[in-house]
């Protein structure tokens, strides 16, 4: 135990450095994932016939082991942060996409009918009715994605993207327990903190009318 504390005292700057890099990797990847998956989910909710095959395709993609994909990405895009972010973004897509899609198609059909019937345009229906009513589901998708990506991003160290993965790989290759823990504990804490923050955000952003009861 003392050795770990000593280790932290000595290397906390490095740990902070790797952690911030890790956060950066996760943040950028999930942001790209959101920017692609939410609009794609909206699009699919309007074309239900193609939705299932598209989501099935992305699910199948998700079954490819992360390591394999990172390897491929490195072969195409070289070493560094770029191939890592590309792969992590791809992995972040599915939960966000699936939740956006199910959230939107889960909005009560009679509400959509009423909205259309009283003369709302498609965009007005989307922004005033559908999105407010599914925002909670969408954020929970983002939360799941982010937790995944925090853990998967440790693999990105392998292709030179940096982050807490670096510490873990150093630890594994030198049989150093301290390095391994220095990489895994911040990653685990990060996942917990982000998960809780997003849960809080989800509560805050859910429309009040969906929370109040008589």
């Amino acid at each position: 135990m003392n050795t770990i504390i000593d280790f932290i005292n000595r290397y906390y700057k490095e740990i902070l450095h790797y952690t911030s890099r890790h956060i950066y990797l996760v943040f950028v990847s999930v942001a790209i994932g959101i920017v692609i998956a939410v609009p794609l989910g909206i699009l699919l909710s309007r074309h239900k016939k193609i939705a299932e095959p598209v989501i099935a395709g992305i699910s199948a993609f998700q079954t490819i082991p992360g390591l394999v994909l990172l390897g491929f990405s490195m072969m195409i895009f070289g070493i560094g942060i770029k191939p890592a972010i590309i792969v992590l973004s791809l992995y972040s897509l599915l939960p966000i996409l699936r939740n956006t899609y199910t959230g939107l198609i889960g909005v009560d059909a009679s509400l959509k009918d009423a909205a259309k019937g009283i003369g709302m345009t498609k965009n007005e229906i989307l922004f005033k009715v559908e999105l407010p009513l599914s925002v909670s589901t969408i954020i929970s998708g983002i939360r799941i994605s982010t937790i995944y990506i925090i853990s998967w991003a440790t693999l990105a160290g392998l292709i030179g993207a940096g982050g807490l993965g670096d510490l873990i790989w150093i630890g594994l290759s030198t049989y150093s327990k301290d390095y391994i823990l220095a990489g895994t504990i911040p990653a685990a804490l990060l996942a917990l903190i982000v998960s809780n923050l997003l849960e809080l955000l989800q509560k805050l952003i859910t429309p009040k009318g969906l929370k109040v009861k008589r």
Partner: protein
Amino acid sequence: MIEFKNVTKKYGDTVILKDLSFRIKEGQFVVLIGPSGCGKTTTLRCINRLIKPNKGEILVRGKNIADINPVDLRRNIGYVIQQIGLFPNMTIEQNISLVPKLLKKSKDECIKISKDLLQLVDMSYEEYAKKYPSQLSGGQQQRIGVLRALAASPYIVLMDEPFGALDPMTRELLQDEVKKIQKKLKKTIVFVTHDMDEALRLADIIIFMDKGKIVQMATPEEMLSNPASELIEGFLGKHINNLVNLKASEFMKTKLLKVTKDKKVLESIEYMKNKEVSSVIVIDDDEKYLGTVQIEEIKKRGKAGNTIENLIKEDNFTVNINSDAKDAFNILLENSLPYVVVLNDDNKPAGIITKTSMAKAMGDKLWGDEA
């Protein structure tokens, strides 16, 4: 106001609306009714272009709606649905003023609209404006649904079974309110229901549809007195079948207090006292009807020992047993009589119709014998 010209709607090979043509006048409360699958809801949804017909034209205020932008069209036509469809993420006020807001009305105008409309259904702005739909009862929610449809002062309001999911008491309350509002604001309302009670209660004109066609378009009175088909009769059910063609025999009380004309005066008084009645029917030896005798008459002119023969009142109102019950009612009510005597074809008294027997028989017909 609203005119359908040879409107046909098909889904694949299934014909929903068959060459439908009709015209609705401004300010009328029109109820579309018929069995499920008759096309009534489809007809309604064609009016605000939620459904596009395959053939034919629909004119609203003389304009073909196919030439009007559907969003603009719908903002000028109120829309109320059975599922209510209030947006749960918006307050009551936001729900009501949604369309005015979309039409870019100012904030003050929107507030005024909400206030005025809430007042219309006796709901206070202060209490309800900031509440959410989930905090209201079903009846209150649908009131707001109706108000939302009225908010942009549309000239037409479409209602698709708006009260179908409410309990009977709330439903009646809302029916009355809607009828009141319609009269006050002079809106043209097209209302879909499968409930004939509701149709009779609300409609100026009932359009009865079956298999995508109009079977009858008439006022409630016309439809009641002259239903165009057996199906409509079935729908009118309790309102017509049993009541319109009822015979006097079905309404009469058959327990009769009869005396023969040679009964003595004192005997008759005793008999009437025992039975606690103020008059009895008098018959001759062949049991034929002669008239009635009133207790006052006996007291005034009767002499002990005499028969009641010369005390008989002969100008009583009688009806034949096969005549319409309606005739008996009219006689009973117009002359404010205690009863009308019903006679067989051979002039023998068969029964009497009193207000009580009439009410009881009508109750039986309306609600079944158990009532």
